[in-house]
Structures are given as C-alpha cells and as structure tokens.
Point group: C2
C-alpha cells in the first residue's frame, strides 16, 4: 500500500501557489473536532488574511465550529475554490493545519484587524460588532498543497509566509 510517495520537493513555484490560494480566499472549509463526540466536523467559514498574511476568520458563538474551537483550537482550513469552471479535482487547493487564536476585543490589534476584515468582507459590517462574533486567527502549523493530479507538496509555516515585499 505504501507505494512511491506522491510528494514532490517544495520549490518556489509551490510556495507561490500556496500563498496565492491563501491570499485569494474569501471563504474556506474549516475542520474542527466536535467536542460532544470527538468526531471531525467541517463547515464553511469566511477566510481572509490579516495585514501580515495570516489567515483570519470571523465566527459566531452560536455556531458549532466556534464551540469546538474554544474546546480544542486544533483545526484545518481548506482554501482554493474551483468556482464553476473546469475540473474541481484538478483545481489547486491547500489544506492548512492550524491552531485557532481568538482575537481579544479589548486587545491593541482589534481595531486594525476589524478594519482589515471589513475591507475584504464589507457585508460583515452588518454583524461584526455583535457580541457573539469573534475574529479568530488561524495560525498555520503546516500545510499540504495539491496542485492537481500527482502534484502534492508538504509545506511548513515558513513556506506559507508572504514574500517580504508583500508588506506586514
């Protein structure tokens, strides 16, 4: 069953593709552990980036994934949506392994992050200030890049870091 590994050595092209998939995302599929059962659970969440390129989402305490992340911050985010055209199974996508870190509303970065989020998801202005909503960083601990059939890469957090000229 352990045949040849489909994993290729990480190169600059793979890093750039991963970064592009993160930067272009406006939503993704978030996997968490259901605290009631210990089983995995996946749902759609908003997914953008902060000024430093770190994945950032906005979640409600009324949702299952938020309760799950408060109980166990380990999660995984899939970005790279195929849209309506082409073969969804050869469309590049990135599985990010991450830890959720809730942004304190009273913290010094909150106002900047709120502004950044609203710049990318203007409609969230309708609910971002509701007290059950939280901005949450998804801090990558690793990633798998699937660049299409047979083109797979294992990436580190450093591989996912934005290029220096992208600003912080």
């Amino acid at each position: 069953m352990e045949k040849q590994s489909p994993i290729r050595p990480t190169d600059e092209e793979a890093r750039k593709l991963a970064r592009r998939l993160i930067d272009k995302a406006r939503f993704g599929a978030l996997a968490v552990i259901d605290p009631d059962t210990g089983a995995p659970m996946v749902s759609r969440v908003a997914a953008v980036t902060d000024f430093a390129g770190t994945p950032l989402t906005l979640v409600s305490d009324l949702s299952h994934h938020t309760k799950a992340l408060r109980a166990d911050p380990r999660c995984s985010l899939l970005v790279g949506e195929p849209g309506s055209k082409g073969d969804p199974l050869t469309h590049p996508r990135l599985t990010i392994q991450a830890r959720a870190s809730f942004v304190e509303r009273e913290g010094k970065d909150y106002a900047d992050l709120r502004e950044r989020y609203l710049e990318l998801v203007p409609k969230a202005g309708l609910y971002i200030d509701f007290l059950d909503f939280s901005l949450v960083h998804l801090l990558p601990t690793g990633a798998y890049l699937n660049g299409g059939f047979g083109k797979a890469f294992v990436l580190t957090p450093d591989d996912l870091a934005p290029a220096q000229d992208a600003g912080a």
Copy 2:
C-alpha cells in the same frame, strides 16, 4: 454565551434542500482525524451518490485522508458549493457527519457502484481501476443544514433519505 438557539424545527423544505445539496454535489470538503496527530484535517474529494442516494467517494491510498479513514472511519463531508456568483456565506450548505465504509472490490455491489461512479464522474475512468483507488461510502449519522444567515437545521439520517419516487 448560550443565547437563543439558531436551530429551526426541521420541515419538508429543509429536507428537500439537504437532499438537493447532496444530489447536486460532484465534490466536497472531507474532514478526517489525522492519525499521526489526532488533529482534524480537511481536503477536497470527489463526492457523488450511489443508486440509493448515499454519498460515495473515490479515494487513493496515497492520500492522507484515505490513511486517516482506514485508521478512524469517522468523518464529515461539506457539500453545497457556492460557485462564482453570489455571497458564499449565505449560499446553502450541508455538513454531513458520517462513517466511511470501504467498498470491497470483490463484493457483489462493486461493479454496479463502479458503473454509477463513472456515469457521474466520467474522467475517473483514467484511474478508478488502479489498485490503490477505493470506492468509499460515507454513511450519514447526522447533518447540519445551513440554509443561509440564521436558517440552521439539525437533520437525522432519515431526514436525508431520498423521497420514495427517487428510485433506489
């Protein structure tokens, strides 16, 4: 933090919407438990239905999710892709909680399931017969339907069953 529940009583409209999301899907996001770390992991998989309407996927032993499903069959499948138009966060989607059941290649149903799969995903003819590929049923144990902002439903496996006239 436990405010009013956003969950509505399940009605026929919710059941039909859930069924439509399952039937229309050709791919989805599959969450599994990473056997190396115990953390959740989400990746894109093909996702169709068998003749009875049960979710069915085709996976390779070379992929992480297959190794994970062999170690722990608990998984979750998100279907209901927003495509390129509209607001992805108000697009209806369904989180299915499921158990993976690998279809035996020597079993009596394999040929029919293989034919069904190829009918829905013709391109898979290029690789479905490779020995590292397996058809896998994702047997629902429950589901969450998010029909858009504030329209959430908790569904049972019975709620997900196709209407009688859909054939089996």
